[in-house]
């Protein structure tokens, strides 16, 4: 009986996530607040129903009342989170808020199914991270001088990464994190990617001269090399690709893009030849069956999980995702694919893509190089990370060992993703402020003109039109500022 209900919940969840995904893209296409709000209501409905359905299945299967409590705790968290934004950050991007909740909900359901203790821990960290990240938009909005600290960002970043490298060398193994009080292990590369983006953005804010590009590239390369040396290949790749793209957007130079790509390819070949662990990853990707019980084990188990789930999934608790090593963090996508099905998993990829598109759109809206590069850099970091994670899990590309933002287990990952999304929200709000200000000024201008027209009794219609014309293209001022 239980398994029939679980099969039913499986289909319900597939329908809900499809509806959710459709409405995220509907949101991105819509041009008016009213229609977007309608899409948001749909998203929230699907999100809450999917969360409820998932925990219904979990509760039925485990037969534990504590699951109901856990569910309610999460429900309260989601409601408070949404309310907080509604009250304090009315202008924030609702799509990103909803996506955050959806991705977290999917992660919670899967983690609870895999390991309840870890899920509870993840929930506590999530609440803490959400609370801390609440202040991020205010900081971005108010502290207009963040672009001055370029070298400080670089110093902090390199110091933190180097510290990890030193520790990992002394402990004879790939260790990417510090333990803090046993509860929480801090993985600096997750946070340094943010300071890295800030560093690059502030360097290019003031100049994109050849000299400045060289200096920035050297410092960026230091980040990447330290990461390669500490065997954090996924992070190294993220930093590299994000830097290359930021450089391209800042300088608009295809030459840099081409040169960087060639240099990167050369460096990859070199890394393949020099570093044993790089070689192993690539060989496992090419043919995991050569060493099926050794190095190839993880990816083979992941492929078993995804393949066994098929399009519709096995249903919660009906698969064996626990056979996949590190399924909770780096390989959670294969667990989701096995039990919720490939359709669900593709919808998940599309939700991540909608976050990325929102990031990119925000970066096109920003005036000023600093904010533009930050929004774009974070988009690149996020996009590359999602691609590396999912591509690695399905053996599309070699596995690099990187988390899926908001879904994977891992405190540092959750924390840094919250901060990233917070910064983007801050930028979005910043932009909305500016638009509102321009709109207000125009409103005043219109009123003045109306009064003027009334007073002189002619030309009212004509000046109204010209006001509209200006409103359509309110970028004059921002443009002047930027070009300096």
């Amino acid at each position: 009986m239980t398994s029939l209900v679980i099969q039913a919940t499986k289909y319900v969840m597939i329908v809900l996530i499809i509806l959710y995904t459709l409405s995220t893209y509907h949101y991105l296409r819509m041009k008016t607040h009213k229609r977007r709000n309608r899409a948001c209501v749909m998203q929230l409905f699907c999100m809450f129903m999917l969360h409820l359905t998932g925990y219904l299945a979990i509760t039925l299967y485990t037969n534990q009342v504590s699951m109901v409590t856990f569910y309610l705790a999460q429900l309260v968290f989601f409601i408070l989170y949404l309310m907080f934004f509604h009250i304090f950050y009315r202008k924030a991007s609702r799509l990103l808020i909803n996506n955050t909740c959806m991705l977290l909900a999917i992660g919670f359901i899967m983690l609870t199914r895999l390991n309840v203790d870890r899920a509870v821990r993840q929930f506590i960290i999530t609440v803490a991270a959400a609370v801390v990240a609440m202040v991020v938009p205010v900081i971005v909005r108010k502290m207009r001088y963040l672009w001055r600290f370029g070298w400080i960002y670089a110093g902090i970043g390199i110091a933190a990464l180097a510290l990890v490298l030193v520790f990992s060398m002394t402990s004879y193994g790939a260790k990417l994190s510090f333990d803090i009080g046993g509860l929480f292990s801090l993985q600096p590369s997750e946070f340094v990617k943010i300071s890295f983006v800030f560093f690059v953005a502030s360097m290019f804010q003031t100049s994109i001269s050849f000299k400045r590009v060289c200096v920035t590239t050297v410092v960026a390369a230091m980040h990447v090399l330290i990461l390669v040396a500490s065997k954090d290949l996924g992070a190294a790749l993220i930093y590299f690709v994000a830097y290359l793209l930021m450089l391209f957007v800042a300088t608009k130079s295809y030459l840099y893009l081409l040169g960087g790509t060639i240099a990167g390819s050369g460096a990859s070949v070199l890394a393949y030849k020099v570093f044993g662990h790089v070689k192993t990853r690539v060989q496992v990707w090419k043919d995991p069956w050569v060493d099926a019980t050794g190095d190839g084990w993880q990816i083979i188990q992941s492929l078993f999980a995804i393949g066994s789930g098929g399009w519709l999934g096995a249903g919660l608790y009906q698969g064996m995702p626990e056979t996949v090593p590190v399924v909770r963090s780096d390989f959670i996508f294969s667990a989701i694919s096995e039990e919720f099905g490939a359709i669900f998993a593709i919808a998940l990829i599309l939700i991540c893509l909608s976050c990325l598109l929102q990031f990119l759109w925000i970066s096109t809206w920003m005036d000023g190089m600093f904010y533009k590069i930050i929004a774009f850099g974070l988009a690149a970091v996020y996009g590359v990370q999602v691609f590396l994670n999912i591509g690695g899990v399905i053996k599309f590309i070699p596995s690099t060992g990187i988390t899926l933002p908001f879904v994977s287990y891992g405190g540092s990952s959750i924390m840094s993703t919250f901060i990233m999304f917070g910064i983007i929200q801050g930028l979005y709000i910043l932009k909305q402020d500016e638009v509102d200000r321009i709109e207000q000024e125009e409103e005043q201008e219109r009123r003045r003109q109306a009064v003027h027209a009334q007073r002189y009794g002619k030309g009212a219609e004509g000046s109204g039109k010209s006001g509209e014309g200006r409103r359509r293209n309110p970028s004059g001022r921002g443009k002047n500022q930027k070009s300096k």
Binding site: M1, S3, L4, K31, T32, H33, K34, L245, F248, V249, K252, A292, T293, W297, I300, Q301, L303, F304, I306, G307, S308, G310, W311, G319, M320, T323, A342, A345, I346, I349, L350, C352, L353, L356, L357, L360, S363, T364, W365, F376, A379, A380, G383, V386, F387, I390, G391, I394, K395, F396, K431, Q432, V435, I438, E439, R471, R472, N473, P474, S475
Partner: protein, 487 residues
């Protein structure tokens, strides 16, 4: 007007094109689409083969929810089934015991044969939804799908008896489709008692390799059966003159420092190419071999699937043909008569023969005809598939004519029959320097004009001249046609 005012102010800015960011955006979208594309491709096309691996722990747990399906003969005979005792313990039962040991395989700690290659079907249920729900509610396991094979127990028994106590293997194919009608390997084992017998089967004292399926995994020198390919190469190299080929056999032929001699000191006298094959004249083929372009001969053998993967969904060993332009005289002569370093599996020899029988087209051999749900609905039907046209229709016709001559005018008169015409070729494959130690081969088909079955049979240590193999083939053809004519 109202609507227009609602238009989001911010987005008007996007009209100010930001080309580089958009380009990067397009790049990302393409990356994601490619990921989704690969993912879909994996789930749809590739995953079935991959998850059917012994490293996949899920396969074991399927059996907790599902009763393993049956493996059936072509007319529904049960070759393997799962039986449950009063206490609910399931065991796998093989009613024919040793008869299908290798081809059906076993499902114990490991899996072999069809039990392995059809594992996924045998663990998947396509029972109708209502019955599945009913079973679920009454906590009865769902029966998995059954696999209907192409195997014909009657022919399997004939082949099994024909091999007798010899070690060896026999494969019977339907040349027009590639259906494997029978596949026997000896010595064998009883799959019903495999767990109990395991230790003794794999012990070092046991030199018989009972578990090896010699039909696909046994490699033997092809002996004189290889002269078919030597003949074909000669015909291809001398398309205008091969019909004028002349040879006078004196029983021996010196070459280099050695001497080639015909079987049993026979002196075949005046021969053309057809009679050279019919009499399996070693001296004549040693001469033919010296006139061949070895690189082109190597290419021909590769096109006949030597040194290449076979289109088989079961475990097998690749056949090998080593000789090429760099080889010396001795190897050239030895290889042309089927000795030397050439190695072939019985199923591969059957496939080559079936290409000749099928007008030049080789069909990919297959064992599973269809998968049926436990209530008899067809879940998946396998269709014959052509591997390729390996020789032209006229080449196939010529070789068939030569193989008929083997029976009517050459080495195998015992295969003559009033009711059907056999085309075939015998062979004895020497496997060490002692000429007495040789494997006996026969490959052939009947009726020659419209072939229905292809036989490839080998007797290890069967002695010279292939007379054991001819006798076995005779029994098979007689059995096949007496059943056919009796019906």
């Amino acid at each position: 007007m109202k609507e227009e005012e609602e238009i989001l102010q911010v987005e008007e800015r996007t009209r100010k094109v930001n080309r580089e960011i958009r380009l990067a955006g397009v790049l990302f979208v393409l990356m994601f689409i490619a990921t989704i594309g690969y993912f879909s491709y994996y789930v749809t096309a590739k995953s079935k083969d991959i998850i059917n691996s012994s490293y996949n722990a899920r396969l074991d747990t399927f059996s907790e929810k599902i009763v393993r399906g049956e493996i059936l003969g072509s007319s529904g005979e049960v070759l393997a089934k799962t039986v449950e005792d009063e206490e609910g313990n399931e065991t796998r039962s093989y009613p024919y015991e040793n008869l299908f040991a290798h081809v059906v395989g076993y499902s114990a700690s490991g899996k072999t044969g069809l039990e392995s290659s059809a594992n996924q079907y045998l663990l998947t249920s396509h029972l109708n939804v209502i019955d599945q729900v009913n079973n679920e509610l009454s906590e009865v396991k769902n029966p998995a799908d059954n696999v209907v094979t192409t195997l014909d127990p009657y022919l399997q028994q004939l082949a099994y008896d024909a091999l007798g106590d010899y070690k060896g293997a026999c494969v019977i194919l339907e040349p027009s489709t590639g259906k494997i009608l029978a596949m026997v390997s000896k010595p064998d084992y009883n799959p019903n008692t495999i767990s109990a017998d395991w230790e003794s089967l794999i012990s070092e004292e046991n030199q018989d390799a009972n578990l090896l399926n010699r039909a696909t995994q046994g490699l033997y020198p092809p002996g004189s059966t290889f002269k078919l390919l030597t003949t074909l190469e000669y015909i291809r190299e001398y398309p205008d003159t091969w019909e004028n080929y002349q040879f006078d056999c004196e029983g021996t032929l010196p070459y280099g420092d050695a001497v080639m001699s015909c079987y049993d000191g026979h002196v075949h006298g005046h021969l053309n190419l057809r009679l050279s094959l019919a009499n399996s004249c070693n001296c004549s083929f040693a001469t033919v071999g010296q006139q061949l372009n070895l690189d082109s001969f190597h290419a021909l053998c590769n096109s006949f699937l030597f040194n290449t993967e076979l289109p088989l969904s079961m475990e097998y060993k690749e056949s090998s043909f080593v000789m090429d332009g760099t080889s010396g005289l001795a190897e050239r002569v030895q290889t042309s008569i089927g000795q030397g370093r050439t190695m072939i599996s019985p199923i591969h020899n059957a496939m080559i023969t079936s290409a000749i029988a099928n007008g030049g087209t080789m069909m990919s051999p297959y064992l599973i005809d269809r998968v049926e749900s436990s209530d008899g609905k067809i879940v998946k039907q396998f269709m014959p598939s052509s591997y390729g046209k390996l020789l032209s229709a006229s080449e196939a016709e010529t070789l068939t004519d030569f193989m008929v001559a083997v029976v009517n005018e050459g080495t195998s008169p015992s295969l003559q029959s009033d009711s059907y015409q056999v085309a075939g070729k015998t062979g004895s494959a020497e496997f060490n320097s002692n000429k007495e130690d040789s494997h006996a081969w026969f490959v052939g088909f009947a009726p020659a004009e419209n072939p229905e079955i292809v036989i490839s049979i080998i007797y290890e240590n069967g002695g010279l001249g292939g007379s054991v193999a001819t006798k076995g083939a005779k029994a098979l053809f007689e059995g096949y046609f007496s059943r056919k004519n009796g019906q």
